[in-house]
């Protein structure tokens, strides 16, 4: 075991423990959603919680830990936080558009199937986002 842990005061180790437990639970649930949810358009929401709350709480725990350990302000984890918060929406949007374009193209390639699906005209996109893959 790491001997440095002994020198941590209680005000630091209590929030670190709680944040680490919360973060690990959220990361696990996000990956579980990636496996359990039935369709791609639902699966894309699983990693979103990993990226926002899981990453956030583990980064804050790391910040508190190193600040208490070296008894000075160690906040360079903020760089990763800002970077992830800026890039995660871009990745999610590009993945979603990729999936939508690919499904639209796949539908255009077999027009007979889409012809008898005229009842779904109220939907935004003319393919079904419910069917089991």
């Amino acid at each position: 075991m790491n001997p440095q842990l002994e020198s941590l005061p209680l005000w630091a180790s209590l929030p670190i423990t709680l944040l680490l437990l919360l973060g690990s639970a959220i990361v696990l649930i996000g990956a579980l959603g990636l496996v359990r949810l039935p369709h791609f358009f639902q699966r894309i929401h699983g990693p979103a919680i990993t990226i926002t709350l899981g990453t956030g709480s583990i980064l804050i725990a790391s910040m508190i830990y190193f600040s208490a350990l070296q008894s000075r302000l160690v906040i360079h984890e903020l760089l990763i936080t800002v970077f992830v918060m800026l890039t995660a929406p871009v990745v999610a949007m590009l993945l979603m558009r990729t999936a939508v374009y690919r499904d639209l193209r796949a539908r255009d390639r077999r027009p007979i199937v889409s012809a008898n699906k005229s009842k779904t005209t109220t939907e935004v996109y003319p393919f079904s986002s419910k069917e089991e893959p």
């Binding site: 209590l14 670190i16 583990i58 984890e77």
Partner: protein, 92 residues
């Protein structure tokens, strides 16, 4: 409190590893290509978190650099893969 904290650190390492395993399952099984890209992106994220947790476990700030490099390369590779899937080429 110290034993509780070290237990929490070990739990974090284990659950991030388990999450990486689940991502690998989706990466290998995923019916469509975009599923695999999503799983790969989550795998990058989990690898970054694993590096951070290792840094807490060993009390060393060296792992921060690794985590940041993993985050940067993960973003670039995911963007390149999605562009390739959407258009068939990376740079238009």
């Amino acid at each position: 409190m110290t034993t509780l904290l070290s237990l929490a650190i070990n739990i974090t390492l284990l659950s991030v590893l388990l999450a990486m395993l689940l991502c690998t399952v989706r990466l290998l099984r995923g019916p469509t290509a975009q599923d695999r890209v999503l799983a790969l992106d989550t795998l990058w994220m989990c690898a970054m978190l694993f590096a951070l947790a290792l840094g807490i476990r060993f009390g060393s700030v060296i792992y921060f650099e690794a985590a940041m490099l993993i985050a940067l390369t993960g973003f670039v590779s995911t963007i390149a893969l999605t562009k390739f899937l959407m258009r068939g080429e990376v740079i238009e």
